[in-house]
């Protein structure tokens, strides 16, 4: 995790420093945590940075622990947008991006504050899913951030070399086949107009893409698992996710397995110690997709999916 921080500082991304950061100068008492606003690439970036700052591994961290700082960041973001008086669309866009993550974090924090056992099972489960989805996204984001660092380094070092890209020597240019260029001024003007006409600005949507990414649901993945098991008999987890196109599917399939186990649709078997866990249909009951739909589909703020 410590490498993340150094990268952030090398690139012009994140320099949110604990304690003495002078970047924002928003008149907060010295010593408080502040972030260099606008240096971050969205909510995942901020979250990753907050986790890094606490030297927590995102595979272990309880996200609830960084919630307060995250919410504080969101507040400053809004404050600054107001001050800058920038266009409302952009502010709205940015805010929704952060809200998705913030609401998930708040849920997690609330769960920690509640005494164990007071929450209904389904809510526990929703929370588990919310957290895991957030983890999955963070892991993915982190992986791409590292890949970006590799690309950035290559881009930088390669920039110090230049390819030879020169116009053809006249003797050889003269050998080229005579140009067929019988287009006429009118058609030429049409082409020019086509290129020079102002392009319609791409619709500035309030970014909803982050809310509706790939359509991955527990119900659908449970169905996929049941089909696979019906066709192949017992399988291990690796085989069950072999066709998954992204991490999120793996995570959701894992959650679906838990749900299916709870409903006694499947059973687990381990033949030798530390051996692969074999999963097969238990045959005791069918999977109740509706129960899952009820459980998860209403959960708008974590439904990036």
């Amino acid at each position: 995790m410590s490498t993340m921080l150094s990268e952030d500082q090398r690139g012009q991304t994140a320099t949110g420093a604990p304690d003495s950061s002078p970047e924002t100068g928003q008149g907060k008492p010295a010593g408080g945590f502040r972030l260099a606003l606008a240096n971050f690439n969205g909510p995942f970036d901020v979250l990753l940075h907050l986790i890094t700052k606490r030297e927590l591994d995102i595979t272990e961290v309880a996200l609830a622990e960084v919630t307060d700082e995250f919410i504080a960041y969101l507040r400053e973001l809004q404050q600054r947008s107001l001050e800058a008086g920038s266009d409302g669309m952009k502010v709205l866009d940015e805010t929704t991006e952060f809200l998705v993550v913030a609401s998930t974090l708040l849920d997690l924090k609330a769960a920690r504050l509640l005494p164990r056992g007071e929450m209904a099972d389904e809510e526990d489960f929703e929370l588990l899913e919310a957290r895991d989805l957030l983890f999955a996204r963070l892991l993915q984001y982190k992986a791409f951030k590292h890949a970006a660092a590799f690309l950035g380094e290559r881009y930088e070092t390669e920039g110090s070399r230049r390819p030879r890209e020169v116009a053809l020597e006249p003797e050889f240019a003269a050998l080229l086949p005579e140009l067929i260029f019988s287009i006429g001024p009118e058609r030429f003007a049409k082409i020019a107009a086509g290129v020079l006409a102002p392009k319609p600005e791409p619709i500035t949507e309030v970014g909803l893409d982050h809310l509706h990414g790939a359509n991955v649901t527990i119900a659908a993945e449970a169905e996929a698992i049941a089909e696979l098991l019906a066709a192949h008999g017992a399988m291990d987890f690796t085989a069950l996710v072999a066709d998954a196109a992204e991490h999120l599917v793996v995570v959701v399939r894992f959650l679906a397995l838990l749900e299916m186990f709870r409903q006694k649709v499947i059973s687990f078997e381990q033949h030798d110690p530390l051996g692969p866990l074999q999963i097969s249909l238990a045959g005791e009951s069918d999977f109740d997709a509706d129960a899952v739909l009820d459980d998860y589909e209403g959960k708008g703020e974590v439904d990036h999916e």
Partner: protein, 196 residues
């Protein structure tokens, strides 16, 4: 092709012939294409190119240029040591840096191509419209010829992307999985997902 080729009858032979062709090339030239031009087998071309490249590098005086294999072929480059002087001669956007946002977006496209803006946004958690435009203008990405689901435009990296990063092919991109810590199951999934 085993007897004496025309190029062998010229002073300097194949190596000088290769130098002459590469001197006018404005894109990387593959050994296969050079083999056709000089009517000699590909392995002989490859060996001659390697030998030229190392001659430029390791002579008592390293040359101001180097011969490198990038994207789909070979090409002359100015040597990095002299970058300061070269850039004071050539003023253009080549050295303009890419922002962190542009690099992250480029990474997602490189590993997930062809990919829609919506999918990139989902992974990065932010709107990427303007960054994608920048990458298009820089020639690092281009539109994929086919539409994605629901008519979304898909993007892919270009040959220039490989050239600009000094990569021989997309396979030379490091695997994404080592960057994902401690998730064994995801690890094995990665090889299935990303190495395509």
């Amino acid at each position: 092709m085993s007897e004496i080729a025309p190029i062998d009858q010229l002073p300097g032979g194949l190596e000088s012939g290769l130098e002459a062709v590469l001197m006018v090339a404005d894109t990387p030239v593959s050994s296969a294409r050079l083999a056709e031009i000089f009517e000699v087998p590909v392995p002989r071309i490859a060996a001659a190119l390697e030998s030229l490249a190392s001659e430029y590098d390791s002579r008592d005086r390293p040359r101001g240029f180097e011969l490198r294999r990038v994207a789909s072929g070979w090409r002359f480059y100015s040597r990095a040591d002299y970058a300061d002087f070269v850039s004071s001669y050539v003023l253009d956007g080549q050295t303009a840096r890419l922002s962190q946002a542009a690099l992250e977006t480029l990474a997602v496209i490189a590993y997930r191509q062809p990919v829609s803006r919506g999918r990139i946004s989902a992974i990065r958690g932010v709107n990427v419209d303007s960054v994608v435009r920048t990458l298009l203008t820089r020639g690092l990405i281009t539109e994929y010829p086919e539409m994605g689901d629901g008519g979304a435009t898909l993007y892919q990296t270009t040959e220039y992307f490989l050239e600009r990063l000094g990569l021989g092919s997309l396979e030379e991109l490091p695997a994404l999985s080592p960057y994902l810590p401690g998730v064994a199951d995801l690890e094995s999934l990665d090889s299935a997902t990303y190495d395509d």
